[in-house]
């Protein structure tokens, strides 16, 4: 079904100079995406603790994927391909922060960071005040979240 559409799809303007320019732009975008991925890998190696590494990880996940998707659309020159690739971007935009949040939260709780690199930690006192590992109403822990919410509401 996809193949049928691709065959039937209207292509962009396909004159010779335009094609060259579009190909060149696509090439630059691919190189940028590859550079971002490499930078993320280097950051993952060189940054000091898990939380800092998490920041390095988010770049290719969002901007890199967006750049590559645009590059594909430019090189194939078809709107339908762009539509087919939109779910890729949407899924990345929705899932990358969630997994980063969950991993970061787990990393913080497991003590997987270097306190010396933190200038300020405004979370620690609040965690201590809450007395448990769970903040009031916070996070994904349904049971404790429910209990806390009911306390807060009444």
């Amino acid at each position: 079904m996809i193949a049928d559409l691709l065959r039937a799809s209207t292509s962009f303007v396909d004159s010779e100079p335009v094609a060259t320019v579009l190909d060149a732009v696509a090439a630059v975008l691919i190189l940028l995406a590859a550079f971002l991925t490499l930078a993320a890998a280097v950051g993952l190696i060189r940054f000091p603790d898990a939380l800092a590494r998490l920041h390095a990880a988010t770049k290719p996940q969002i901007l890199g994927v967006i750049l590559v998707v645009i590059a594909i659309a430019l090189s194939v020159r078809s709107w339908v391909v762009l539509l087919l690739l939109i779910p890729v971007i949407v899924f990345q935009l929705l899932t990358a922060p969630i997994s980063a949040h969950m991993v970061g939260r787990a990393g913080y709780r497991a003590g997987d960071y270097d306190p010396d690199t933190l200038a300020v930690d405004e979370l620690a006192p609040d965690v201590a005040a809450a007395g448990t590992s769970d903040l009031p109403g916070g996070g994904f822990d349904d049971e404790s979240g429910t209990a806390q919410r009911q306390q807060g509401g009444s």
Binding site: G43, I62, H101, T117, A119, L123, D126, G137
Partner: protein
């Protein structure tokens, strides 16, 4: 199903009405058609069937939309977000190659002014997507985010990071917040 009532703070034990679920259903059908890459009666019908099945089988608490949406300001928000995404991506990328890549970071608490889960989710997504900042913990009852911010050493920089999160909230409220919340933030 009683557990689900927790999610709606204002009106407990209420199932989402069909109207409330409509945006979700439409989004699911559109996603289904994008995945198939075609707009035919068959994909529309199967999309509606699948969307209804999914929303019945994996029932989620209703998302309360604010009932106000300004496309222009949303486009402004989106443009600003994409710009920041690009700039911050390359900043963090260059930092990875820098001579001494030991970023000093901070975990800061940001008290949002909104009470809407929807806006809070949007702000958290935007904050987490832009490299250099990341929501590591959030407190839904008090609409409070705990943001891990890369490269925040001095009190100045920390306040700047805090103000940045709040300005994202401001922009999102301008586009999508309920009338009351936008009026409250507007000043």
């Amino acid at each position: 199903m009683t557990d689900n009532s927790v999610a709606v703070v204002s009106e407990p034990s209420r199932r989402a009405s069909f109207l409330e679920q409509l945006p979700l259903l439409v989004a699911l059908v559109v996603l289904w058609m994008l995945l198939w890459g075609s707009l035919t009666p068959l994909t529309i019908v199967t999309g509606i069937v699948v969307a209804l099945g999914v929303t019945r089988a994996f029932y989620l608490p209703p998302v309360e939309l604010s009932g106000r949406f300004n496309p222009f300001w949303f486009a402004v928000f989106l443009g600003r977000f994409l710009g920041e995404l690009a700039i911050a991506s390359f900043q963090v990328a260059l930092q990875a190659f820098a001579a001494a890549p030991v970023p000093r970071s901070a975990i800061l608490r940001v008290d949002l002014r909104t009470r809407s889960d929807f806006i809070m989710t949007g702000v958290s997504l935007a904050v987490s997507l832009v490299p250099g900042s990341l929501v590591i913990e959030l407190d839904r009852t008090n609409a409070r985010l705990y943001v891990h911010q890369l490269n925040a050493r001095t009190p100045d920089e920390i306040e700047k990071a805090r103000a940045h999160v709040l300005s994202l909230e401001h922009d999102l409220l301008r586009a999508w917040g309920s009338r009351d919340e936008w009026q409250a933030v507007r000043s």
